[in-house]
Every structure is written in structure tokens, then in C-alpha cells.
């Protein structure tokens, strides 16, 4: 079976349970003093990489976690290694990168590190763009399976992916190398155990400046402003089912 050298990109984002607040200058969302975590979809991609290794111990030879972001993204990479990634690479930058820029960085990492399978989250919960995996597949000219809910690696190195589509699911078969993006149903990510967290501190983590990758990462989009959505006012409560129906009629919904 073809050796699998997996790349798992992860992103440090505001924790999913935190309600984000727009900053006073309306230039973005307030991140100072806010709890940050690994993007939930990226936990699924790491989990899947580890499960692939558990199912095919000799086939998966290396799992590399990658992140592009501030120095603190090292914490996210340590989490990835505590879950089971072998090593990590950080492209350090203090500016927010757009998906196209990240895809170009990943394209370089795939070449430099000789990867043949990239598993990403289907979207990050901050930008909600849902683009990076597909862009990477396009840049590399590789097959892509997005919104995966099941991944099976077959004997001949073909990868069978069940993907979530509108109204149900479809099954695709990809040749390697390939790009897969994880949907929520793919798996249930494990918690990193304390011994594994300790071990992860000793695993190699390489830091490089984004500029060292020799990739054009300039922004194509200018953020004009960021605002809070118009608030909805709760309309109060009714006493019983009769009141519910009457109020819905008043509102023209029935």
C-alpha cells in the first residue's frame, strides 16, 4: 500500500462557545483577552489522520500539523501533537491571511515535505469562508473531496470518501495524492490525555516566518467595516397554544 504522508492544517480561532463582539473601531472582532481554541473542524481532521494510522499502522508514515498565524498558534499545534500528530510547522505572521494565501503556503509545504494526503476542516468558524482545501487542491491539481463524513483508504491506494451534499450524501473515489475536507459527522475527536500533552512538549515544532516560504500572501480583500448584525427583539411570550396561533396570525405568519 502507498505510504501516506499526511498534512493536517489547523487554525487558532476564537473558541466556538464564545459570542464574538465587534470592536469599537468596527474593523474586526475583538480578540484581546478572548479564549482561543483549535478550529473544531480541524480537530476532526487530526482525529481522522490518527484513525487512519490506527487502521493502517504501517501505511501512515508521518502526520505533520501546520498552522499559519501568530506565535500563540504554537499552542494549537501542541494540541494537535498531543492528539497524535508527529510534528508541527508554524508559518509565523501577525497579519490575518486570506484562504488563497494559506492555500499557497500549503502548496509550498506539500512540495517541501513531500505530502500525498491533506486533510483540512471544511471551514474555519471565524471567517466561515470554506475555501482553503478546494483552493489547495486546485493549485496542486489534485483530486478533492469536500465535506467528508467517511474516509476509507483501499488496498490500491484509492481513497473512498462519503461526502455531505444538499439533501443527502454522495460517494467519491479519489486517487492519491488528494485533498479531503472534514465535515462534522466524520468522527468524534479524542481528548488529549495528560501524558500525551507532556509528550507533545517534546515533539518537534519548527517555526518559520511567513516570508521565508517565498509565497505571495498579500491581501486581495480590504475590510471596509465590520458591524454587529441588527439585533432581533424577542417578541414576548404567550400563555397557551391558542395564544400562539392568534399571535402568528397577527404577525401574518399563518
Amino acid at each position: 500500500m502507498t505510504a501516506l504522508r499526511i498534512l493536517v492544517p489547523v487554525k487558532r480561532v476564537i473558541d466556538y462557545a464564545v459570542k464574538p463582539r465587534v470592536n469599537a473601531a468596527q474593523t474586526g472582532v475583538e480578540t484581546a483577552g478572548v479564549k482561543m481554541s483549535m478550529n473544531p473542524f480541524d480537530e476532526l481532521s487530526i482525529e481522522e489522520a490518527i484513525r487512519l494510522r490506527e487502521r493502517h499502522p504501517t501505511t501512515v508514515t508521518d502526520i505533520l500539523a501546520f498552522s499559519a498565524g501568530p506565535a500563540k498558534a504554537q499552542d494549537t499545534l501542541r494540541t494537535a501533537m498531543a492528539m497524535g500528530a508527529d510534528r508541527a510547522l508554524l508559518a509565523e505572521t501577525d497579519t490575518e491571511l486570506e484562504p488563497l494565501a494559506v492555500a499557497k503556503l500549503l502548496q509550498r509545504v506539500v512540495k517541501d515535505e513531500d505530502r500525498n494526503l491533506v486533510i483540512l476542516g471544511k471551514q474555519s468558524i471565524d471567517g466561515d469562508a470554506g475555501q482553503t482545501g478546494q483552493m489547495l487542491a486546485g493549485l496542486l491539481g489534485w483530486g478533492q473531496a469536500t465535506q467528508a463524513s467517511a474516509v476509507v483508504v483501499g488496498e490500491g491506494g484509492r481513497v473512498t470518501v462519503t461526502r455531505e451534499v444538499d439533501g443527502g450524501e454522495e460517494v467519491l473515489e479519489l486517487g492519491l495524492p488528494a485533498v479531503v475536507t472534514a465535515d462534522l459527522r466524520l468522527n468524534e475527536p479524542r481528548y488529549a490525555s495528560l501524558p500525551n500533552i507532556m509528550k507533545a512538549k517534546k515533539k518537534p515544532l519548527v517555526k518559520r516566518a511567513v516570508a521565508d516560504f517565498g509565497v505571495e500572501v498579500g491581501a486581495r480583500l480590504q475590510t471596509v467595516k465590520v458591524v454587529e448584525p441588527a439585533p432581533r427583539k424577542g417578541g414576548g411570550k404567550v400563555e397557551d397554544v391558542g395564544g400562539l396561533v392568534a399571535r402568528l396570525k397577527e404577525l401574518g405568519a399563518l
Binding site: 466556538y16 478546494q134 478533492q144 473515489e173 396561533v245
Partner: protein, 349 residues
């Protein structure tokens, strides 16, 4: 550049020549031209494609609709009648039937090059989400996903952070690639004027796909489509199990003529199929009426339904966050309230 696409038939050539002058005139003052990438299935245009045309017309230039696949030519006639469509391009090649990004994106790239389009628009559906970013990378442009408002030809509005913030962005790319949120734009209607010209595109690079389509398993439903329904009833964890979900939700949905949705908790617990999930990671809906049953109202769920015109909620917890957004709230045990509501709605029909 438009002329390079005119069809070989004499009649069509004559028609094209008649409009070419008008188009060239329009182009001088308004060089914008938009390619609207549409979806079809079993010989019919899919409803999510109708708002795509409306969004395309808002960009201000001419709108060319593109249909690819075996049935492209037959669906083209339906599309040609729609308001705002100036031209329909078809790529009648069965290789595109399964909408695999590996060959679909290069085909779009070729058509964009041939037509000199400045904007490309598709729905933020499973199709658009899969194909458009790949196309954007091939074009070397930064796509703008899930657009809810178009300010001008380069300024767009989109929700971020599960809809907790609304960002206005300005693109500096030569070609703007957008996916649009269907619920944010009205559906294009059939126009009264003459139908747009339909032409078979000569831009088909026939790239081999490294990926093969194996099978699909789509949920069959007689009810309205969740994404476009005018009424949605949605069930959550409060229903406790699948039996209750199946016993209470379908009769309520039928009494209202509504589609059925579910929260992530209900989907994860196996009460409902994943395709019914409403929220940041599921479907985004904006019906006339959204009735949340046994749903607490986590921000990820609200992201998928808070643009509904009227929100109603039935929950036994008076402090559930859903009541902060609901226009009408009923604090009650859903196991008695839902059957009562269903009966009441039926008797009033």
C-alpha cells in the same frame, strides 16, 4: 470578445449581429459582464439557482447563465425566459453531470477566459462551495463566500463568525468570484420579454477528473425543500428520541405545509438526518415562519435561522436563549403543546 461566442447558425448569427451593436455600446459605459453558474438536475433548474440570477443582475452588467451536463441544452430554454438573463451558454458534455470540481472548475476557467467575464456568481450550496474555491485558485483570485448584499461591483457584504458579525469587503481582484446566500436575494422570475439567446459554448477543455463518482443517497421527501421553504418547523434535543421526532414533527409540518429542520443536537443524537440540520454547519434558512420546537438556541443554530421573518418557539425552559430572538414564545411541554397545535392548525384549514 462576445462575438467569438456567436453560434455558427445563420439565424442566430443574424440575431447576434442585431444585438452586437447595442452590446458594444453598453460595454463602453459598462464593461461589466457576469457569468452565473447554475445548477440543474433531472432536466430542471434547481431553485437555489434563481437567486443567483438576481444577485448577478445587481452587479450591473450583462448576465450570461452557464449550464453544463447532458441536459444543459434542454434546461437552457427554461433559463432563457428568466428576467435579467441576456444569454445562456451550454456545455453539453456528460462529463459534468456529477459536478466534479476537478473538471468543472477548469471548464469554467476556460469559459471565463473566452467570454472575458468580470464576475462569476454561483449559489453557496454544496455545489458552489465545492467548485468555486477551486476555480478561484485557478484564476488566482480571492473568492468572497456567502454574500448577502452587493453594494457595487467590487464591494460585498457577508456574515462572519456564524453571523455574529457582518463584514463589508472590497475586492481588488480583476475577476470577482462570489457565492451568494440564496435567502438574501429574491428568486428571478420569468420575464415577459423575448427569451435570451442560447448558445453551445466552444470552451470545453475536457480535463480528465482524477476523481470518480460512485453513488449517491439522497433523502426522499414530499415536503418542501428545506433551503427554499416558506415555513420550517425544526426539532431539537427536547424531543428526547427519534420516535418522538418522527411522531410529532411530520404531522405538525404537514399541518403547516412546512419543511422539517433539526438542530445539531437532534442530528447528532440520531433523531433526524444530517441533511435537515439548520445552523452554521448545516443549512441557512430564512422562511416566513420558523417554528423551533425543543431547541435551546445555541449561537451555531441561530446562525442558520435568525433571518427568518417570524420566529416562534416552544420550549419548557423559560430562560432558553431561543426566546431572546423569538417573536412569539410559548413556555410549555412540547409533548402536549405540539399535538394540540397540530390539531388546532388542522381544524382551521
Amino acid at each position: 470578445m462576445l462575438l467569438t461566442r456567436t453560434a455558427p447558425s445563420v439565424l442566430r448569427a443574424a440575431a447576434a449581429a442585431a444585438t452586437a451593436g447595442a452590446r458594444a455600446h453598453a460595454r463602453r459605459f459598462c464593461p461589466l459582464s457576469t457569468l452565473a453558474v447554475l445548477e440543474h438536475k433531472e432536466g430542471n433548474l434547481l431553485p437555489q439557482s434563481l437567486p443567483v440570477i438576481t444577485a448577478a443582475t445587481k452587479l450591473g452588467g450583462t448576465v450570461t447563465a452557464l449550464l453544463a451536463g447532458t441536459d444543459a441544452a434542454s434546461v437552457a430554454a427554461q433559463v432563457a425566459k428568466l428576467n435579467g438573463v441576456s444569454e445562456v451558454l451550454t456545455v453539453s458534455n456528460g462529463a459534468y453531470d456529477k459536478s466534479l470540481a476537478e473538471n468543472f472548475a477548469p471548464m469554467l476557467q476556460e469559459n471565463i477566459k473566452a467570454g472575458g467575464f468580470t464576475h462569476v456568481v454561483a449559489a453557496h450550496s454544496a455545489f458552489g462551495k465545492n467548485i468555486m474555491p477551486r476555480l478561484s485558485a485557478l484564476l488566482d483570485v480571492q473568492q468572497i463566500s456567502d454574500v448577502i448584499e452587493i453594494h457595487d461591483d467590487s464591494t460585498f457584504v457577508r456574515p462572519i463568525y456564524a453571523g455574529n458579525a457582518i463584514a463589508t469587503v472590497k475586492s481588488s481582484d480583476d475577476i470577482k468570484v462570489l457565492t451568494i446566500r440564496g435567502t438574501a436575494f429574491p428568486a428571478a422570475a420569468e420575464g415577459s420579454g423575448s427569451a435570451a439567446a442560447v448558445q453551445e459554448s466552444s470552451a470545453d477543455p475536457k480535463v480528465e477528473s482524477s476523481t470518480t463518482w460512485v453513488s449517491e443517497n439522497l433523502a426522499k421527501s414530499e415536503r418542501p425543500d428545506l433551503g427554499t421553504a416558506t415555513r420550517v418547523v425544526s426539532g431539537g434535543r427536547g424531543l428526547k428520541d427519534k420516535d418522538n421526532f418522527d411522531k410529532l414533527m411530520p404531522p405538525l409540518a404537514d399541518a403547516l405545509g412546512a419543511a422539517i429542520g433539526a438542530s445539531r443536537a437532534a442530528v447528532d443524537s440520531g433523531f433526524a438526518d444530517n441533511s435537515l440540520q439548520v445552523g452554521q454547519t448545516g443549512k441557512v434558512v430564512a422562511p416566513q415562519l420558523y417554528l423551533a420546537v425543543g431547541i435551546s438556541g445555541a449561537i451555531q443554530h441561530l446562525a442558520g435561522m435568525k433571518d427568518s421573518k417570524v420566529i416562534a418557539a416552544i420550549n419548557k425552559d423559560a430562560d432558553a436563549p431561543i426566546f431572546q430572538v423569538a417573536d412569539v414564545g410559548l413556555v410549555a411541554d412540547l409533548f402536549t403543546a405540539v399535538p394540540e397545535l397540530t390539531e388546532k392548525l388542522k381544524s382551521e384549514k
